[in-house]
């Protein structure tokens, strides 16, 4: 079985030019590979770089060194070398990301926000809306909210919109940043079932799950990001 997403000697360091070029090493030397049906849980204390790693995998952060490779329609795409246009295409077809916070578009209804990823891959408007409605129903979002923009929703409601938006196209690679953080027990169970279903359908999942119960229910392996946070920069510094 071949992997769908890989990180090769991945390192991320932030350089803050406003602070005289201060270097903030986040992690280095991360290798990972996730196959269809697997779910890799990223663990580590707050600030250990789990979300940064997830963002690197999504191409939202650029890798400082190393590479992220995504298997996109049978070909490996290097996220470090891909053009913006190629990254966009990979995200549209292959790579899904559920962030912690929903970035709201003013005036657009919840139903249309959730349907949008389907529209972008060519699904007709009616069909996309019908599928979006199914997802929202499954996630127990009350129907009277579907036609409102989610700006005024509660945290848990927004998170469910976010999950529906990220998972509706059944992406082959799915990145989840605390998908159950502000959900009650019932909705947590729904999300766990959705993640397991995605795995069964052959998706490769990488996620951050703070809730132990959720992590045990969905993850097949885990990776502690802390062990990679030893800064390379200072090690190099000590030898010179």
């Amino acid at each position: 079985m071949t992997a769908l997403i890989e990180a090769l000697a991945l390192a991320k360091t932030f350089t803050l030019h406003g602070r005289n070029g201060l270097q903030l090493p986040v992690f280095s030397g991360i290798n990972l590979s996730v196959q269809p049906g697997e779910c890799l849980a990223l663990t580590g204390h707050s600030g250990s770089g789990k979300s940064s790693l997830l963002r690197c995998l999504y191409g939202n952060y650029g890798a400082t060194s190393g590479d992220v490779r995504i298997c996109h329609q049978g070909d490996w795409v290097s996220m470090s070398n891909a053009t913006p246009r190629e990254v966009f295409e990979v995200r549209r077809r292959t790579l899904g990301y559920v962030s912690q916070f929903l970035r709201v578009i003013p005036r657009v209804s919840t139903l249309d926000i959730v349907a949008d990823p389907l529209r972008r891959i060519g699904v007709a408007a009616d069909e996309a809306r019908a599928q979006a409605a199914q997802w929202l129903q499954r996630l127990n979002l009350q129907e009277h909210l579907w036609h409102l923009p989610p700006a005024t929703f509660s945290g848990g409601e927004q998170q469910r919109v976010n999950i529906a938006h990220g998972m509706i196209t059944a992406p082959a690679v799915l990145l989840l940043d605390e998908p159950t953080a502000s959900l009650d027990a019932d909705n947590r169970r729904v999300v766990v079932a959705l993640i397991r279903a995605a795995r069964e359908q052959g998706s490769a999942v990488v996620g951050i799950f703070h809730d132990d119960e959720v992590r045990e229910a969905v993850a097949t392996r885990s990776l502690n990001v802390e062990q990679y946070s030893k800064p390379v920069a200072s090690r190099q510094g000590s030898t010179t």
């Binding site: 406003g18 191409g59 650029g62 578009i105």
Partner: protein, 268 residues
């Protein structure tokens, strides 16, 4: 198969002469824009954003480098060819500007004809292409006014009687009526109330998606760039200091100036 590049800037630059010395308003700008892509150009006032936009739209000529456009078959020697704008005649450029391109000015008054009705403003480009049937022109004007959410009851009013947001939407309708493939926008939402801005942005986002329009949007508003554009280009002192995927440039800026720009934004 790779889709063909629509617009290509290759080391494009424009200099003004100041006290006998050339001063580069923008320099060494290179990028390829594909059909359906939106590129945001951000930077502070005086960074050369608007000059760049005018170079791309052939309102100014390049002093170095070049801008190429994939003209429609009827203008090209061969279909899908990238043609250097500098090699096109004035007549060809005019034709391009009023059929295949749109240009949305920052001040709607600069992009509208204030002495004819709203409907006539929308119909003007069609008339320039030879449309003479009054019913057809009026029908198009009504349908475009509705699409940009203008009250069609105002079709016979002069644009001077419209609000700022309405004028901006009228300007957009006037540009889109010939179904251009590429639209240039110079600060399209500046000077509008935030609620009007949101409405206009949402409308632009939808139109761009629906019509597979490519766009180059100059803005100093990073939120506008994030909402509309897949890619962005950050300019400072006439040079591109950073370019790439919009969310990567905004969330993980590399250049000192981009970091300053991103960290200076107030988030409500």
């Amino acid at each position: 198969m790779k889709p063909a590049v629509l617009l290509s800037a290759r080391n494009a630059g424009k200099a003004y002469v100041q006290q006998g010395q050339p001063r580069w308003a923008c320099r060494d700008v290179s990028f390829d824009l594909y059909p359906g892509e939106v590129l945001a150009v951000v930077g502070e006032s005086g960074s050369g954003k608007t000059t760049l936009l005018r170079l791309l739209a052939a309102r100014l000529g390049c002093d170095e480098g070049s801008v190429h456009y994939q003209v429609r078959a009827d203008l090209a020697s061969g279909p899908g060819d990238l043609v250097d704008l500098a090699r096109m005649s004035q007549a060809q450029l005019r034709r391009l500007a009023r059929t295949d391109w749109g240009f949305v000015e920052q001040h709607a008054r600069d992009g509208l004809r204030m002495n004819v009705s709203g409907g006539a403003n929308v119909g003007e480009r069609l008339m320039a292409l030879g449309a003479r049937n009054y019913g057809l022109l009026r029908g198009e004007a009504l349908s475009w006014m509705a699409r940009v959410e203008l009250d069609t009851g105002r079709i016979d009013d002069l644009p001077g009687s419209y609000s700022g947001g309405m004028q901006q939407r009228l300007q957009i309708a006037r540009n889109l009526v010939t179904q251009p493939r590429l639209i240039f926008m110079d600060e399209p939402t500046t000077g509008l109330d935030v609620s009007v801005q949101a409405r206009l942005l949402d409308m632009l986002r939808e139109l761009v998606g629906e019509l597979q329009l490519a766009a180059v949007v100059v803005t100093h508003d990073l939120a506008v760039a994030r909402l509309l554009a897949q890619r962005m280009l950050v300019m400072k002192d006439g040079c591109v200091v950073e370019q790439g995927l919009t969310d990567r440039v905004l969330d993980d800026p590399q250049h000192a100036y981009t970091q300053l720009l991103v960290s200076s934004v107030l988030t409500p």
